[in-house]
């Protein structure tokens, strides 16, 4: 419902709307201790994922690369598993899977949740009520139950697990978006835009979206760690990653029977999961601090 001549202008406006205060944001992020630590951990993870073939000492899938269940030593820094595979190499390659899980699962839930929440919050009336009651119904099941149901439909596997986790947390993102939209809609600048004659698209994408996105970036970053944990949980149960994929949760579960003989098989994947989750949580906190207008506007 917008004048066609103005669609290009709208796109132009959108580009500038998301750009302001970029430099001060990064400075603020690096200035906060949690943001800095989080950023370093996540950067290390990304680096490991990108350069895995170069930095990993062995092929993560090659069996009998060394002796079986060998304790950590100079040649096998984190020991070997029951098939003689190098645990360190598996963890480095596992970073790829972990990042994929985080990005894909959060990507699905964030984009669907954002759209649902925006539409529900903007439209009000019947659309809002129907959409949000639907979300409420989904919200009343634990995320893992929804994820299990999805896996039962799609079948077992890591990709399906990512999608399942993504779908399961849509209600959460929809709710958050909805409430932020309601707050923004109540602010005078929104009414000012309506009074200026702005159409639906302009109101949603130029006025609401840029003001909603910062909150969702924070939530999304924190959500990555939840998604990684959930995927590790599903893999642990044998519903996610399948052998011989070097997925951290799956590595944990296969170490279960050997816990007393080869504790390194459990300790290192466990540490990797914990550090990654911590990293994303810290980064999320840091971003929240950096985006807080009380700190950037002064």
């Amino acid at each position: 419902m917008i004048h066609s001549s103005s669609t290009a202008e709208l796109a132009d406006d959108l580009a500038t709307a998301s750009a302001p205060r970029k430099r001060s944001f990064w400075r603020a992020l690096l200035a906060s201790p949690s943001g800095l630590i989080g950023l370093v951990i996540v950067a290390v993870l990304i680096f490991a994922a990108l350069t895995a073939p170069v930095i990993a000492p062995y092929d993560p899938l090659r069996m009998a690369a060394g002796p079986r269940l060998d304790a950590p030593s100079t040649s096998y820094l984190m020991g070997t598993d029951d098939f003689g595979r190098d645990v360190l190499s598996r963890i480095i390659y596992g970073a790829r899977l972990t990042l994929q899980i985080g990005v894909i699962a959060v990507g699905i839930s964030l984009s669907c949740g954002l759209l649902l929440g925006l539409v529900a919050g903007y439209s009000s009336g019947w659309t809002e009520r129907v959409l949000m009651r639907l979300v409420d119904v989904l919200f009343s099941f634990t995320e893992i139950v929804i994820a299990l149901a999805c896996l039962a439909i799609f079948g077992v596997g890591l990709t399906n697990a990512m999608i399942a986790i993504g779908i399961a947390s849509i209600p959460f993102y929809a709710r958050v978006t909805h409430s932020v939209v309601l707050v923004e809609k109540g602010k005078p600048y929104f009414e000012a835009a309506v009074a200026a004659g702005a159409g639906h698209l302009r109101l949603i994408f130029l006025h609401l979206l840029p003001n909603v996105v910062p909150t969702l970036i924070v939530i999304g970053t924190l959500g990555v760690s939840t998604a990684i944990l959930a995927a590790a949980g599903l893999s642990f149960l044998g519903l996610g990653a399948q052998p011989p994929q070097p997925e951290w949760g799956f590595m944990l579960s296969s170490s279960r029977d050997l816990i007393s003989r080869a504790p390194w098989m459990m300790i290192f994947p466990g540490l990797a999961i914990a550090t990654t989750v911590l990293g994303f949580n810290l980064l999320g906190d840091g971003i929240r601090e950096a985006l807080d207008p009380r700190q950037t506007d002064r």
């Binding site: 103005s6 500038t16 709307a17 602010k187 005078p188 009414e191 000012a192 200026a196 004659g197 702005a198």
Partner: protein
């Protein structure tokens, strides 16, 4: 009530306060010195950012810890230096010897505790009273501040009281321990004028009764004229001038004080003029009828699970008026009178239950969604809070250009040029276009809003309290700009305001609203100089005037039940009053 000439009760010397550290250090108060004598009211006046609040908060140790530093200075009170006391010692003084009233009565009472409990807390703590003694004192104080049925009030929660009643409770709390000094930070700014007048009366009365010294922090010269014995004028953290209230008002020494006094709109200053001041040569005059409204009603209903509940609050009842091109109709009234609702209804920002709105002969209520958006080219709005009404993530240039983009009036180079013209038109510079709203001052932001509204050459602008968030000197400039634009472009303004003095400056006609109805409407001189409705009279009598020669008599008491609220009848040409 004459101030003692003995040694000062409180003596502040060389107070310097800064915010931030290192490169970001920002001095909020610099070398401030003043004395407060026993039984005296000292007004500290200044515009926003003058450091008037900060300097007083420092006395009670209420500055945000970490963010603000007291760099130098002493504040001697009772033989001690308030600025160098431990938290423990400060707590002993706070709420007992020195008490405070805040601006916002809605938020300065704890919502979950009963009035009685909040009132007696400090008495039990500081005075060592027993529970029943404290309760007796509490009831006595509530009666003193003019609340009826004190025992019942003690059992009520803050949300059960109105804003004015809550401010009375705050005053009762502040006065209950018989303090030596009462710090009042903008005590009446958030209140309606009629309530403000009652609270000021009450404070004067209590001061005479208890002999308390008052430090009154305010931006309102009218309140200063009514309350103060002596005045300290502050600007940008420094004391500009100090003197008795008579000296300040009659023979101000500093240019800034003179400018401040000159900028304050005074009710009655334009009483002799039949229309607003002429600010351009050959101004356009009110012309043909532009807006006609009739029988507008709106009830806000609570939303139930599926459908609207019955009942609700009637925000507008049978409201109707006409507005000509190039004319200003002021809608005045207190909070909850429905004046903002009316402004929004005219722009169709909210849907009416019934009524007629015609702009240039088109019935607005019959237009479809898309047609309404097109019609909005003709009518724009200026909002009260220039900070909140500009999208923080768009640049100033984009914001001003947005209405033109929406209505497809210009693009590319032409859009750029027209935006630049608008910036200079409202007194901003063209290279401000790339800045973001938070980089502008309050007055500049309101200029942005005006430029934005002007961009589509509207015929009607609804201005909802356009200057009430601004300092007086800035307010004067913005009003000047609005008058100039009206007279050169022939704009019609629907000017919503609670400030009678501002209304007198800009309006051709005035409509007074109360509880969703227009109780009096007519030409400015008829309504302001010869008010016929008792409510209009009460409203005008309550306005504080920055003039020492005018002493206000006793306030007319309003009996809500006998106020006429019936249909409007014409008592003089165009002057209509509810009967």
């Amino acid at each position: 009530m004459t101030p003692d000439t003995d040694a000062p009760l409180l003596s502040v010397r060389d107070l310097t306060i800064s915010f931030g550290k290192g490169r970001h250090r920002n001095v909020a108060v610099k070398d401030l010195s003043y004395d407060l004598r026993a039984g005296e009211t000292l007004a500290i006046v200044g515009e926003s950012g003058s450091g008037k609040s900060v300097s007083s908060m420092a006395l009670l140790g209420l500055l945000p810890r970490g963010a603000a530093t007291i760099e130098a200075g002493t504040a001697r009170f009772d033989g001690r230096d308030l600025l160098h006391l431990s938290d423990e010692q400060l707590r002993g003084i706070r709420g007992d010897r020195v008490t405070m009233i805040f601006q916002e009565p809605m938020t300065s009472l704890t919502p979950v505790l009963r009035i009685g409990q909040q009132l007696t807390e400090a008495l039990i703590e500081h005075k060592g009273m027993s529970r029943s003694q404290a309760a007796a004192r509490g009831r006595e104080m509530l009666t003193l501040v003019g609340l009826d049925d004190a025992p019942r009030r003690m059992k009520q929660f803050p949300h059960e009281l109105s804003g004015g009643m809550r401010q009375r409770v705050m005053i009762a709390m502040a006065m209950a321990s018989d303090p030596a000094i009462l710090l009042a930070d903008e005590p009446t700014t958030a209140l309606d004028v009629t309530v403000q007048a009652q609270i000021l009366d009450l404070m004067r009365d209590l001061k005479a009764r208890f002999g308390t010294s008052i430090i009154l922090i305010t931006h309102d010269m009218g309140v200063v004229a009514e309350m103060a014995d002596r005045v300290v004028v502050m600007r940008k953290g420094r004391k500009i001038e100090e003197g008795t209230v008579r000296e300040i008002f009659e023979t101000p020494q500093q240019d800034y004080t003179k400018a401040l006094l000159a900028a304050v709109p005074r009710l009655g200053a334009h009483a002799a003029a039949a229309e607003p001041r002429q600010v351009v040569d050959g101004p356009s005059r009110p012309g043909a009828r532009l807006l006609h409204t009739h029988g507008m009603s709106k009830t806000f209903r609570e939303r139930g699970l599926f459908a609207a509940k019955a009942g609700g609050t009637a925000a507008m009842q049978d409201v109707g008026f006409d507005l000509a091109a190039g004319e200003t109709l002021a809608l005045v009234g207190e909070s909850g009178s429905g004046k903002s609702t009316t402004g929004r209804a005219v722009l169709r920002l909210l849907e009416l239950d019934q009524g007629v709105i015609e702009i240039g002969g088109t019935d607005m209520r019959r237009l479809s969604g898309g047609a309404v958006r097109k019609a909005r080219r003709e009518m724009q709005m200026i909002f009260q809070d220039p900070f909140a009404s500009l999208n923080p993530r768009l640049s100033a240039g984009r914001l001003v250009a947005e209405p033109m983009v929406i209505h497809g009036l210009a693009k590319g180079r032409e859009l750029q040029d027209r935006t630049e013209q608008l910036f200079t038109r409202v007194g901003l510079e063209a290279d401000h276009m790339r800045r973001f709203p938070h980089e502008f001052s309050g007055g500049q932001r309101q200029r942005l809003s005006i430029a934005r509204a002007l961009s589509v050459n509207p015929k009607l602008i609804v201005a909802d309290e356009p200057t009430s968030a601004l300092d007086v000197s800035v307010q004067a400039q913005v009003l000047e700009l609005m008058l100039e634009l009206q007279q050169s472009l022939g704009l019609a303004y629907l000017f919503i305001s609670h400030d009678m003095a501002v209304v007198e400056e800009v309006a051709h006609r005035v409509a007074v609203m109360r509880r969703g109805r227009i109780v009096e409407i007519g030409p400015r001189q008829a309504v302001l100089n010869d008010p016929r409705h008792p409510y209009t009279r009460a409203l005008l009598a309550a306005v504080p005037v920055p003039d020492l020669t005018r002493t206000r008599g006793t306030l007319p008491t309003l009996d809500a039940s006998t106020l006429p609220t019936g249909p409007l009848t014409e008592i003089a040409p165009q002057h209509m009053v509810a009967s």
